[in-house]
Symmetry: D3
Subunit: 337 residues, 6 copies
């Protein structure tokens, strides 16, 4: 083993090799490094996402052998990218500031090697250290953010604190780590936040796609537009996926479910597009709460979100001639076909 686990036994994402954060040799050459952020001290309602990293790492029916050949893209992202897993950062739920600092150091250590940090949450509070550390590496203000979520997460404070899963996006923009006008939010809906916060968001020139707009224009058209913004005068993209962007009927294992969301298919397709079309420098997948899950369906979904993103990154790294179109007939052009 080698990777430490904060809760439960030490395991790696689908069996990829374990690495140790304090020993860079263990992740030398890896294009992507998995980091567990088992923190739910920032959750405003149903907790449990401290068990998200373990669930996302292990929920699968296939062998945990570090291999995952992607059908539609015709490649194995775990093998091609040399993915490793450094285990969990210790993040005590009662110490939000200490936890975020520890995570930021860890993500920064990974980013410094040039590898893509893949952070498994944990509640969305972690997006603050995740994206900050990536921006610190790539360049502050040089990283666009693509943010799938039911909620804007731009609250000013939560329970009187600057930190919590309702505020990270405000902190990220306020600090200058990322630009408000390169912050793309997709999937918002419901009854939060109120006008004051929306005014703040507008003043930052954020671009937030509410579900009703997406419903009218189509998700792909919205993504086209968002991608163009993300690519404009930025060097890299950070992807933050809150599983609650998907409808809670399909992904019940989360803390603040908001009906009327994406289908799982929409999220998987969109994440894969992000990774295929944009220069990803880091990502996190958050808000998976196993105690509220049913038959592990939310954990399965989050596991696949990671795989789709990694597969897209691997595809993008290939020479164009070696890239398979995911929409072409599955067996087309294979030997013997």
């Amino acid at each position: 083993m080698g990777a430490d686990a904060m809760y439960g036994p030490a395991v790696t994402f689908l069996g990829v090799p374990a690495a140790r954060l304090e020993d860079p040799a263990t992740y030398a050459g890896a294009a992507a490094v998995v980091v567990g952020a088992p923190f739910d001290g920032g959750t405003s309602h149903r907790p449990g996402c401290r068990f998200g990293p373990a669930a996302i790492r292990t929920t699968d029916y296939l062998p945990h052998d570090g291999r995952r050949p992607h059908l539609a893209l015709g490649l194995d992202p775990l093998a091609e990218l040399s993915v490793v897993d450094v285990g969990d950062v210790t993040m005590p739920p009662g110490d939000i500031e200490g936890s975020l600092e520890a995570l930021q150091r860890a993500v920064g250590t990974v980013a410094a090697t040039g590898a893509m940090p893949v952070v498994l949450g944990g509640d969305h509070t972690i997006a603050l250290p995740d994206a900050t550390a990536v921006a610190d590496h790539v360049g502050r203000g040089r990283v666009s953010v693509v943010h799938f979520d039911a909620h804007a997460d731009t609250g000013d404070t939560q329970f009187g604190s600057l930190y919590g899963h309702g505020t990270p996006m405000r902190r990220l923009i306020e600090s200058g780590a990322v630009r408000g006008d390169r912050f793309l939010q997709i999937g918002l809906r419901g009854y939060w936040p109120g006008p004051e916060t929306l005014d703040w968001m507008a003043a930052q020139h954020m671009r937030s796609y509410e579900m009703t707009e997406i419903g009218r224009r189509g998700l792909d058209a919205c993504l086209d537009e968002a991608f163009a913004i993300a690519l404009d005068d930025c060097d890299a993209v950070f992807l933050s996926v809150d599983v609650d962007v998907v409808d809670p009927g399909l992904a019940p294992g989360t803390g603040t479910p908001e009906p009327g969301g994406f289908s799982t298919r929409e999220l998987l397709d969109a994440v894969r597009r992000v990774a295929m079309e944009l220069p990803l420098a880091g990502m996190d997948v958050v808000e998976v709460s196993p105690p509220y899950d049913s038959a592990e369906v939310t954990a399965y979904l989050a596991n696949r979100v990671v795989l789709e993103a990694l597969a897209g990154v691997a595809w993008r790294r290939r020479r164009p001639a070696d890239r398979r179109s995911p929409e072409s007939p599955l067996l087309q052009d294979r030997p013997g076909a």
Copy 2:
């Protein structure tokens, strides 16, 4: 408090002010009054929707403060409409006739003030007293019904009785409270009722949209047509939403689930359209059965059905110049944008 609860502690819908049915001063000025109908004595299969009112009132992760700013419409329906909650009508499960009478009196009392009754079921039997009381106020035969449901609920009898959740729509039309040719059913599917009942429905000139027709034509086109019928020579509309119109995979907490239904997004969008485009005089949301729910997803959905309807009503009451298009970019036209 003031509002009584038949089961569990007394609480109001998301914290709106409590009122007392017997004291009209407590709901004077309210544009909408919530009434709990915790009755499942009319259920033909899985019971539990007696706990529906409590679940619909309280299932949310946001503060129960009587405030809900609607993102897409840019207004707060609870505040704008001055919504109050009169608690539960006492409806013993074993006394169906007495229960329906008590509910009809309560809804009639609310309607008489000009406020819109918002009845939280309970099983669909309650649509009979709900719509009757509204029609008695608006004018018998002057209220169209828009009815989202997997089932037609037009059975002649149930277990030998005239009353039950399979028969209310027949009783409503037979009694003359509402017109058959202004009765719009949307979302039907499955294997009930049989030819004899369908013939009766046809003879009443009901318009029932089965899912296969909706699939071919598109939901919005069907709604356009239905709305035109509803508005023709009628003064008001009663909206009855059975959560089982949504696919049971997305809304498992219900008694008679029929696969192949709406997505939650479709229902929320459709309900909002009803409230924005039609003159609503009353509504009920029925068949939420918490014992069969998973991670509260069905209760969340029903809570949002109420909010979408109220938001639409508030929007419609605004001057056109003050109405925000729900499909426009979320932050567009805000100060600073």
Copy 3:
């Protein structure tokens, strides 16, 4: 009773008459015969589908009276087709080969009478005896296969054995029971199998529709194409429906869930189309695992898959003049309308 059950009490599909496999008189005249295959000894991960036959037979809120009038098609398949149920084949989980032989004999006995076997699984291992027995009756190589599934099920071996739910499609083609180039797979996705197996599939000229292709082209267009292949130089069609083709958020009660699947509506519509447009000679519905289900939603779905298929078969057997278009308004053309 009469029909034997391997687990639990003896019951028949929705109350259709019981028959006994060893007494052909009991199913003389039946157009479709239900056979239970309560086997999960071939499952590679979550078991429980041994309880699938009981769940599929009994999960409904309507009376178990052997009657099911289909709303959209305007006919009662159970009555029109004279459906009967011969109960379960005894299939000990620890004896995969003996179990498959017993099932193949049972299905062959049914097929020999000209009735359509409707096999309720059980894990997908059973497709091997199911389709083989039908092909033996219709003519080896003369039966096309339409296969809805998240997985190709074309593995070479599983846990070192030729038999298991990951390999039946390879065995079927290798044995010559069915032709690889008349094998239509719809709904594949995920990260299995690897290149070697895909090459084998291509070499058999199988046609496998991955979800990304379906997403781009539309399901109906893919079905049109697939149906044309299925009808080309073949005499009959075997339909194999793995419920995991549907998204696990909607159908959690299964063993190897793969996110990103069909909606229930898509599956029900597609199955009905298969039965209406193709000459069905047999079918199975597999991988329903009640221990992982939530509020019975997966069992409900599988029950409806059977009903949609039977309804389509009944519709196809009618004279064209007696066929109702499922997409026309529900009450149109009824007496009184």
Copy 4:
């Protein structure tokens, strides 16, 4: 089949022969007749016990073959007593009075033949018709009642009605069907009823064993005392078992759980003693609510309550020389031992 089911498919208790209430020949010679009372319209809180009869009949891992050799007593009650099952009485939840009348007629019909009615509930409201019908047959005031329950069920009214699961014991005594001073309640606890009702109970000379008394004296001593009272100047005994007498941690599937109850072992031993030592003329088992059960443990328990009672009855009918002591070593005195 033959027996009708109100919900779900028609099945009999563990596969015993079906009989039809309206055809006495079908239960001629039966010493015990099972009657389903799928009624939960009298429940004051969590419903669901309408599905109790089906759960109690079918929850077992052994074959449903009408055979159950009892280990400790060395006999098969189903075979020795010739137990049959007449299916469910139709009891619409919304019609409490009509339902109780129908049940009373059914139980009376069984009792009139001299067979012991074994009524499967359903909520405890049914004890009123159950015990009344037995008393009408044996002689009013001539039947003692042994009542295992967490609650006294002696309320005056419930939701304003004379009928409900909180009032049957008062109705039974008031009507003169049974004597208050031959009414033995075992297992009471908690915070209901209040002083007025307790005074009424005392005035009837009821004997109610609260858990604290049982804890101090021991259950067997309490039973000894209760049995002596039951046998004093009475001709027969009616046994009424509410599963909530058992601790809700062990039997969660019930509507009004009160912590601090019996172990399952205590209940099974006590019920067996009742049947071995007292002249049982009828019994019911009530308040099993499957929607709240976990892994079927409450349904299993209720199924065994029926079996223990029937086994005790069969044992008591044997000649003393043929009675095995249940406490002797299991294999003692067997051939070969």
Copy 5:
């Protein structure tokens, strides 16, 4: 209302009057004041006990009317003691120190009035502020602690912090708030802590009853001994009940379940004895985690723990002549008996 809730709607313990901590007039005259401590930021494993206060307050099938007549003691503790509820202290999960300070202030405010604080947790971290505030009022070192728990909670640090649910008892003794040799632990078991911590405990002269000792000697004998220690040279007693002292099979809704615990009956009897026999000055009930509960059985248990304690306090406050023996026959000595 009046009482604030941190999560969900504002409700009071079983409907007792609401009070406001900042307005002493609202709880003047109350002998016991309920305080919610919805904090799970100190949990080392499964979270969720932030929802404990709401669950403990509301889980009951009886009316929420602030009345609970205790059967065995023949009194109504809520009425006799004039119990009120001040709602929740705001305790953000990510700020353990700030949360504990806020709670200590609140409990101290209550204790200062002479009322008994009844704190509903929340994880066991809260015992530190709870007992400290009571000791500050009664006299530091003058309050004995009776502590029911599977775990000693005497760890030195947790995740590197002094605060957490594994360390409060050490902090309490170290600070001098309570004496180690008046610290009685009952129900310990399992595999934690190790020798070093046990040595520390021994050096404090704590008295810890492990389950094996309790099994041999009997719980009542252990309580007799513990009560004698508690009463020796102390002025009052603080009672801390961790529901995990009960076997997890009976009380699954908790975070760190350790098999082999009390029955629910044992805990309820023991708590009642504590309150009847010792001078209680404060109490808390902790570690109820609703997301892991089944059919609310753990919440029911914790609700009854509070009621048994309050009933015992009320009994003790009565003149001896007015005290009913809980073990005497329930109806004995009532009018008419």
Copy 6:
């Protein structure tokens, strides 16, 4: 890692070192070796115990660090015994005979080193290879068996086969691996097997303690008697623990639950006594079925069964002077006490 897992990620029992069966150096010096037997192909009813080994290995809230200091015995069995884990034997569910052979080889390999095999099931079929391999090592007929179970597992055949979880004890005795008159069964109850099988058991001079006998005599007295038999003219003892010996209310996660069983406390105490008082040569813990578990309580129980047994073994290996009495006060005789 090193240890292989058949399902899910590779993990070891609570973090003990991994070993590889084919490399004896990896377990040299270990006194106990954990072997996973993830097989449920022999289950006659609810499956799922294929996931038992993973659940038993990992279900704990303490760190997975290979350390577990036992409170009552004052020792750490994992450290003292040098426990290692060789992972899972590959046991395909559909191949019962091949699976049993593979397991027997693995257990035999362990036993040959003198280490105690600790086999984690899996269904009870595995007791046949487990005990056979131990007997082959110790001496056929020289190993007594102590068997905790609700069921005798002495059926002649199951589904027509000699192998299955209902027959292993007959096979063990028939084969001569163990003696019938040294076979001690504790906890039997219910309605299986019938007279013929009981006669066979008696003829083998088995000693089977049914719950009614245990209830009358007390568990400790029965164990005293059983231990005397076990020690008479035998060299070692094999312990087989079926978790269904515990009441299903306390341990719902199993396949064939029989109400009226042990408390968890009774099982843990009894298992510890076995290990402290008898010369254990091997053991298995079987029938843990996670899909039917609730809040992991059954998995926790089974994990503790293993720990109690190992702790007893470690205790027994100590010099008498170093053995702590588990029933003495926990902190007695510690430094400082």
